[in-house]
């Protein structure tokens, strides 16, 4: 008997949703309306990510509606999207032997023009987080996940990297949904395309909808 056991994996879902073209056309329309509304507060991204610069401008460093008073889950115009991906998420959880309740906690859209990027961060204290690509032109910026064994790997010499402790990249494409544990740190490469990368992000908790995200 001899077996290699891959212990303690971080399980993630990578999927292309059904009818992505139709869904994305509708999402593009709604996101455009959202951000063209002169009253929509937009948070600046890239190097301004940590500064929480919020204004009604379409910042050249990228912008999102992730602010303290905006949540797409509560926006009727986006309901079709969450209803559409609901069975996919339930199916994923079932494959992990979880058949209990779950719910979206919050969600936001983000636009990354040429040069815009996402610094390394995580979504703790949520349970699951997702990114969905509404528009992902070629070279618009891979998403890169960092191995979560931070303390364990703190003193790792380069000669042991072959056993798996490295970053994991995903190439975004239109209609791709990536669902991952909220504790896992991630970032993106800068958008090198002339076109915007447009995404919707969201957080999920399992159990009944009894947790209130601060200020939402």
């Amino acid at each position: 008997m001899k077996k290699i056991i891959q212990t303690f994996p971080t399980v993630m879902l990578e999927a292309i949703i059904d009818n992505e073209e139709e869904i994305n056309t509708k999402l593009c329309y709604e996101i455009k309306n959202l951000f063209n509304n002169k009253n929509t507060q937009k948070r600046a991204l890239s190097q301004q990510w940590e500064d929480f610069v919020v204004s009604t401008d379409n910042h050249s460093t990228g912008y999102s509606n992730f602010t303290t008073d905006s949540n797409l889950i509560k926006n009727d115009k986006f309901l079709f999207f969450y209803e559409h991906i609901n069975p996919l998420i339930s199916d994923f959880f079932a494959q992990l032997d979880y058949y209990g309740e779950w719910h979206f906690v919050n969600s936001w859209a983000a636009v990354y023009p040429k040069g815009a990027w996402v610094p390394l961060h995580d979504h703790k204290i949520m349970e699951w987080s997702g990114v969905y690509y509404v528009s992902a032109p070629k070279d618009c910026g891979d998403i890169v996940f960092t191995d979560p064994k931070e303390y364990a790997l703190a003193a790792e010499p380069p000669s042991t990297r072959w056993r798996g402790n490295y970053k994991q990249k995903f190439n975004p494409t239109n209609g791709k949904l990536i669902l991952f544990p909220s504790y896992i740190k991630h970032e993106t490469m800068p958008n090198l395309s002339e076109e915007d990368r447009i995404i919707i992000s969201f957080n999920i908790n399992t159990g009944k909808e009894n947790y209130k995200f601060p200020n939402l």
């Binding site: 001899k2 077996k3 290699i4 399980v11 010499p157 798996g164």
Partner: protein, 213 residues
């Protein structure tokens, strides 16, 4: 397209060594010499971190592991047959992980766990790979339990997310079993619940070639 990806897993080897019965007979004979009445033995279980030494075969368990003295079994020619026997298995394991470079044993030691003796949670950092080989086991002699190394990441995890994989990994030892795991992986054992001793050989390995990726 829909794919579930298990990322950042920790590769471990669980194997039963060829000819383990013959190997274990020879090892038990050599271990009688290592643990003779004149030898210094370090006390285990809850005295693990106190580095107390005795010449007795202590009821809390005992080992010849002494980081301050050259007592490594890898330097004892009477144990060459054992480490030579394992080399191919270890090289094959590394090759399956796409590592075909050099490696070497750093140190090795034997431990005896009588009834009630156990191993507290610890790791073998800053070594690269560590191993436990079971010379003598019995049912309920104490499973070895590995802890998920995503310590910071899981530090605020609620109980209701444990189903996604953040659990302990428990292995029931049997005679001739070899476990190899990254040295950073914390592990402990349950107490030996039977009247017979659990006897193991532990060792550390380092790889010496830079990675290709």
């Amino acid at each position: 397209m829909k794919t579930i990806r298990p990322l950042f897993a920790v590769p471990t080897l669980e194997a039963i060594v060829d000819n383990y019965e013959e190997i274990n007979q020879k090892l038990l004979k050599e271990l009688d010499t290592i643990f003779d009445k004149e030898s210094n033995k370090r006390i285990l279980s809850h005295k693990w971190n106190e580095y107390q030494w005795t010449k007795e075969k202590h009821s809390l368990g005992y080992t010849n592991f002494d980081p301050t003295k050259p007592t490594s079994l890898t330097d004892n020619h009477n144990f060459n047959f054992f480490f030579d026997h394992l080399s191919q298995l270890i090289t094959e394991f590394f090759a399956q992980l796409d590592y075909c470079g050099e490696w070497n044993y750093v140190n090795g030691w034997a431990s005896v766990y009588p009834k009630g003796a156990w191993v507290p949670l610890h790791d073998h950092r800053p070594l690269h790979w560590s191993a436990a080989y079971y010379v003598k086991t019995h049912k309920d002699c104490g499973n070895i339990i590995f802890t998920d190394p995503k310590e910071y990441a899981l530090s605020n995890e609620p109980e209701n997310t444990r189903w996604r994989g953040n659990v302990m990994h428990s292995v029931e030892p049997t005679d001739g079993m070899l476990l190899i795991f990254p040295s950073y992986l914390k592990h402990e054992t349950l107490p030996n619940a039977v009247d017979e001793d659990r006897i193991i050989i532990s060792f550390n390995i380092q790889t010496t070639t830079s990675p290709s990726r």
